[in-house]
Symmetry: C2
Subunit: 369 residues, 2 copies
C-alpha cells in the first residue's frame, strides 16, 4: 500500500474511528485501526465487535493495499505531524513507513487479513431521518439509561419506528424518558434496542445542522450512515419493558413552573442533599408557591419558587439527581409536573408540545422525617 | 456578624482563598475559610499553615464579627446562588445563615477564635516588583523544581535579590533553570527558598498586565501582596546548591536552531521514546543538519532539522521530557545549544538576551545502542 493524504483531514478521521477502538479488548488486533485503499479514498475502521465505526477520506492512491496499525500510536503520530501531506507505505511484511516533511516513522503493523470487520448492512434497507431532530431525541433520553450491568436490556434505548412516528425510550427502574416525533417520510416498522454506547457515538457524530442521515436495521444490527461515517452496532437482545403501562393517565394536581428556576433551586438544595445518602430533596406544593428543602448533618436549605397550581397541595420527596438531569436537557422554558400522591410517579413534561414525557419515582419518606 | 455583599465578587474571592485550604489537613478547622469584618470590607483567609491566602472585598457591614465556614460547601453554595446580593449572618453559637433572593441556607460554622491565622509581616519591609516580569520568571523556572520529597530544599526555588538584580533558580538533579532580571528599583539583599506550591499560586494570581506587586521577607516567611490579595508562605530551610559552579563556562560546539521546530521534532520522537524507559531521544549534530531519532520495540522515528553549527560534530542523547518542558516556555524564536562532550551538560539559552540559562544532563549511551 502507498497513499498520500492531508494531515489535518487524516487526524480528524482517525479521531472519529478511535471511538470504536476498545483498549480493554482481549483480541490484540482490535487495538488497531484498519486502513484500506478504495478507489480514490481510504477507508478507516475502528471496531470492538459490539460497535464499529467506519469512515472515508480522499487520498492519492499510489499502490492499493490494507494494513492494521496501533490506534493510540497512529493517532498520536498523525496529530503531531505538521499540516502538510502525509505519505504512508507498507510492505508485504506489514512494516509501515509514515513520512511527512522531514519526519519519518517506521512501525510494525498487523496482518489486515486477521482483522474482524464489522457486519455489512444492505443499503437498500436504509431510511432517512433528520440529523438535528435525532440528535435532540438522543440527548433528551440517553441520560436515563441504566448503568446496571445485571439488566443489560436497560443499558440501551428502545427505538420504535412505525410509519411516520418514531419513539426513543430509556428507563432505569427509577425514571423513564420518552421522546416522540412525527416525521415526513415513512420509516417502516421496527422495534430495536440500541446500546447506550452506540447512541452516545451517534450523538457525537451527528451535527446540529439541518440535513439527514440514514438508518438501517437487520435482525442483530443497526447501522447509522452520517455523511462519510458509518456506525454499526450490535442490538441488545431481550424484551424491553412495556413502558406504556407505567405512565399514569390521570393526576390529582398539576404544577406549572419555570424550568430554569426549578433547576437552580434543586441544584442548590442538592448541595446539602448530597451529603446525605439519597440526594433527598423535599417539595412542599401550596397554592402559588413551592418550597424545596433539604437537610443533612451539616445544615439545611430552604428554597421558594412561584408556581401555578391546579389541584390539591402535596408534600413529596425526590432524588435530586433524577430531576437535575432531566431539567438540564429540556428546551422548554416552562414545564408541568403532574402528581397524584407522594408515593406515585411524577410526570414532567414541557408546557407546549406533547413530544416528551419524563416520569420519575418519588422517595418514600416517613411523616416526621 | 451580619454582612451583605455581591454574589459574583464573593464567589470570585472565595475561589482565590480556596487555593490556600488543604483537604488533607489533620486540623479540621483548616478545612474552613475564615471570614472577618473590617471597616467596610470583609477579609477571607484560606490557610494550611505552610501557605496562607488572604483577600478582601467590599461589603455592607451591619454587624461586626467573624466565623469559619467549611470551604468546599461555602464555595459550592456561593457559586450556585443567583447574581444578586448575598446576606450572611451568624449568631453567638456559630450558626450561619446565608440568604439570597428566595434561597436560605443554615449551616453550622466553627469558632473563629480557634482558627490559626497566617503570620503577619511588617509592611515596611516591602519591595515593589513588576507583575508581568515576575510571572514570566516563575513560568520559565518552576517546572524544573524537584518533586522528590527526600530533598525538600529542591522542592522550592531560590530567589536571590541583590540591589537591582533578581534571580530565580530551580533544579532537580537532572536540569537547572535560571531566570535573571535587572529591575529599576533597588530591592535590597535577600536569599530565600520559596516552596514551589506558593510560586504556583503567586503565578496564578499575578496578572499579565503592566503594574507592580509587593514582596517582603522575614526570617521564616515570604509575603506577596498582589492588589488586595496576600500570599504568605513559609520559607524552605536549608542550603540551596551552589548552582553557579554547575554551569560550564566553555563549549566545543554551539548549535543555533528554531525553537518551535526543535520542540515539534522532539515531541514526535518522544511518541516512540516514551514506550522505552528513559524517554530517550538521540541527537546527531552534523554541519547544517541535526537528526533526532528514537527507537523502541514498536518502531523508530527519524527527524531532521536545519541548524547553524559552530564547532565539531556530536552524537548525544537526552530524556525528551527535559527538553520539551523548557522549549515550551521559551519566548525566543531561536535558541543556542552549547555542548562539550556527550557526557557533559548541555546549555540551552535564547539567541538574544542573557537572562535565561537552562542546563540539562545528557543520558549516557553505549556506542552501539
Amino acid at each position: 500500500m502507498k497513499i498520500i493524504c492531508n494531515q489535518k483531514i487524516l487526524a480528524n478521521k482517525v479521531s472519529t474511528v478511535q471511538k470504536g477502538v476498545s483498549n480493554k479488548t482481549t483480541l490484540p488486533i482490535l487495538k488497531g485501526i484498519f486502513i484500506e485503499t478504495l478507489d480514490n479514498k481510504i477507508k478507516l475502521i475502528g471496531n470492538d465487535l459490539d460497535l464499529g465505526i467506519e469512515t472515508f477520506l480522499d487520498a492519492e492512491i499510489i499502490e492499493d493495499g490494507s494494513i492494521v496499525i496501533d490506534s493510540r500510536l497512529f493517532g498520536d503520530i498523525i496529530r503531531k505531524l505538521p499540516d502538510s501531506l502525509v505519505e504512508i507505505t507498507t510492505d508485504s511484511e506489514n512494516n509501515i513507513c509514515i513520512t511527512c516533511e522531514s519526519s519519518e516513522f517506521k512501525i510494525k503493523g498487523h496482518d489486515p487479513s486477521e482483522y474482524p470487520k464489522p457486519e455489512e448492512v444492505d443499503e437498500n434497507r436504509f431510511y432517512e431521518l433528520p440529523e438535528e431532530l435525532f440528535k435532540n431525541m438522543i440527548k433528551q433520553t440517553v441520560f436515563a439509561i441504566s448503568q446496571d450491568e445485571s439488566k443489560p436490556v436497560l443499558m440501551g434505548e428502545l427505538l420504535e419506528v412505525h410509519d411516520n412516528d418514531i419513539n426513543l425510550v430509556a428507563l432505569d427502574g427509577y425514571r423513564l424518558a420518552i421522546r416522540s416525533s412525527n416525521i415526513e417520510n415513512n420509516v417502516g416498522n421496527s422495534k430495536v434496542i440500541i446500546p447506550g454506547k452506540a447512541l452516545n457515538e451517534v450523538n457525537r457524530i451527528l451535527s446540529e445542522e439541518e440535513g439527514t442521515f440514514k438508518i438501517a436495521f437487520t435482525d442483530k444490527h443497526c447501522l447509522f450512515l452520517i455523511k462519510d461515517t458509518k456506525i454499526i452496532t450490535r442490538l441488545l437482545e431481550g424484551e424491553f419493558i412495556n413502558y406504556n403501562q407505567l405512565i399514569p393517565r390521570e393526576y390529582n394536581l398539576r404544577v406549572k413552573v419555570d424550568t430554569k428556576k426549578l433547576l437552580n433551586s434543586i441544584e442548590r438544595a442538592s448541595l446539602l442533599a448530597k451529603e446525605g445518602k439519597n440526594n433527598l430533596v423535599k417539595f412542599s406544593i401550596r397554592d402559588d408557591n413551592m418550597t424545596i428543602t433539604s437537610n443533612s448533618e451539616i445544615g439545611n436549605v430552604h428554597e421558594e419558587i412561584p408556581i401555578v397550581l391546579e389541584g390539591e397541595d402535596l408534600d413529596i420527596a425526590f432524588n435530586s439527581r433524577y430531576f437535575i438531569e432531566a431539567l438540564k436537557i429540556l428546551d422548554s422554558d416552562e414545564i408541568y409536573l403532574e402528581l397524584t400522591t407522594n408515593v406515585s410517579p411524577c410526570i414532567l413534561k414541557p408546557v407546549t408540545g406533547d413530544n416528551y414525557i419524563y416520569l420519575l419515582l418519588p422517595v418514600r419518606i416517613s411523616a416526621n422525617s
